[in-house]
Symmetry: C2
Subunit: 162 residues, 2 copies
DNA sequence: GCAATAGCTAACAAAACTTGTTAGTTGCCA
DNA sequence: TGGCAACTAACAAGTTTTGTTAGCTATTGC
């Protein structure tokens, strides 16, 4: 987590102005627990800055994503959820309350060497290009370059009686 | 993959009528390669059944999902993508062409015993309920019931120069 | 076969989320 | 202090998905 001063510097270093709005969105993202939506952030920021527009919140959030200071997590339909945690980590999604929890330590336990996987089996592409990717013909494909990997666990969270 | 006759029986056994539309959607889902959207299926079905409505396609697809004959994969924003493969498997998403590939065999290789994970570390919930789930306090939480798990690999696919 | 009714189509409406746009104002910073 | 990035307001609009209604079709249990 970057400090406000560091953020100003960082923004300027990337050709962006260090505006109070960007600071407010950044801080809201870090104060907010879990994986807030743009709307959540908007509500939080408006407590201190009532005039900020939702448009600006979206813009600032995407700026942060572009700068690598936030991520977007996608675990289903609905509004995009932002994640201040840019470290490699996994998620648990409750099927009842739909809350998202960070899952730590599953990576080293379950998948040693992950994601430096060299020989994962991937489907052949039958020469018809990306859109023709088939899932019935399978053979080792070393020329698939895996850059990231994330595990999504689903089930019942503790508060919901898991 | 269920045969047409089996599908008719299966639909009736679940209190649904075996209509030509449901058959057409089912067959289009199996003819279509990869992970088509409702719109993709609609286009495919209309080749043989020009009058079918998109509304009916959505309904039929959701019927199939409810019956366990299809899944919805979520790997990002945009339209939902349907998956005829209801076996447990993972996905590779190309960051360039955004194609989705099935990944097989990664499970047994990378994660033995998966997903029967008993002791994954999950965040504590600090007593504030689901919405107050925090991601900074972490402790073992055996009372999170993991039911499914999926790995999403991202990177460059072979056709895109991976 | 027949009748009951689930399901289909058409035709919109609308919700939900996100982005585009424009014009006028503010304020960051070189 | 001036230039211009950025903000706000106010909409419009695109996308995806679901809701709704009315009338017609066709499946299925009998
Ligand atoms: Mn997270
Ligand atoms: Mn799949
Ligand atoms: Zn829950
Ligand atoms: Zn690709």
């Amino acid at each position: 987590m970057r400090s406000p001063d560091e953020l100003s510097e960082f923004l300027r270093a990337n050709g962006l102005k260090a505006t109070p709005q960007r600071h407010a969105v950044f801080e809201a993202l870090h104060r907010e627990s879990g994986h807030p939506t743009a709307d959540d952030i908007w509500a939080r920021v408006r407590e201190q800055m009532p005039t900020i527009s939702l448009r600006t919140v979206y813009q600032a959030l995407h700026d942060l994503v572009d700068l690598g200071e936030a991520r977007i997590v996608t675990v289903g339909a609905g509004a995009a959820q932002f994640d201040r945690n840019t470290e490699q980590h996994d998620h648990f999604v409750c099927r009842k309350c739909e809350a998202i929890f960070d899952v730590v330590s599953s990576r080293p336990r379950l998948m040693s060497g992950f994601p430096d996987v060299a020989d994962v089996e991937l489907p052949a592409t039958d020469g018809s290009g990306p859109s023709g990717a088939r899932s019935d013909v399978v053979e080792p494909a070393a020329n698939f370059q895996i850059e990231t990997a994330e595990v999504i666990f689903r089930g019942l969270c503790a508060p919901c009686g898991g």
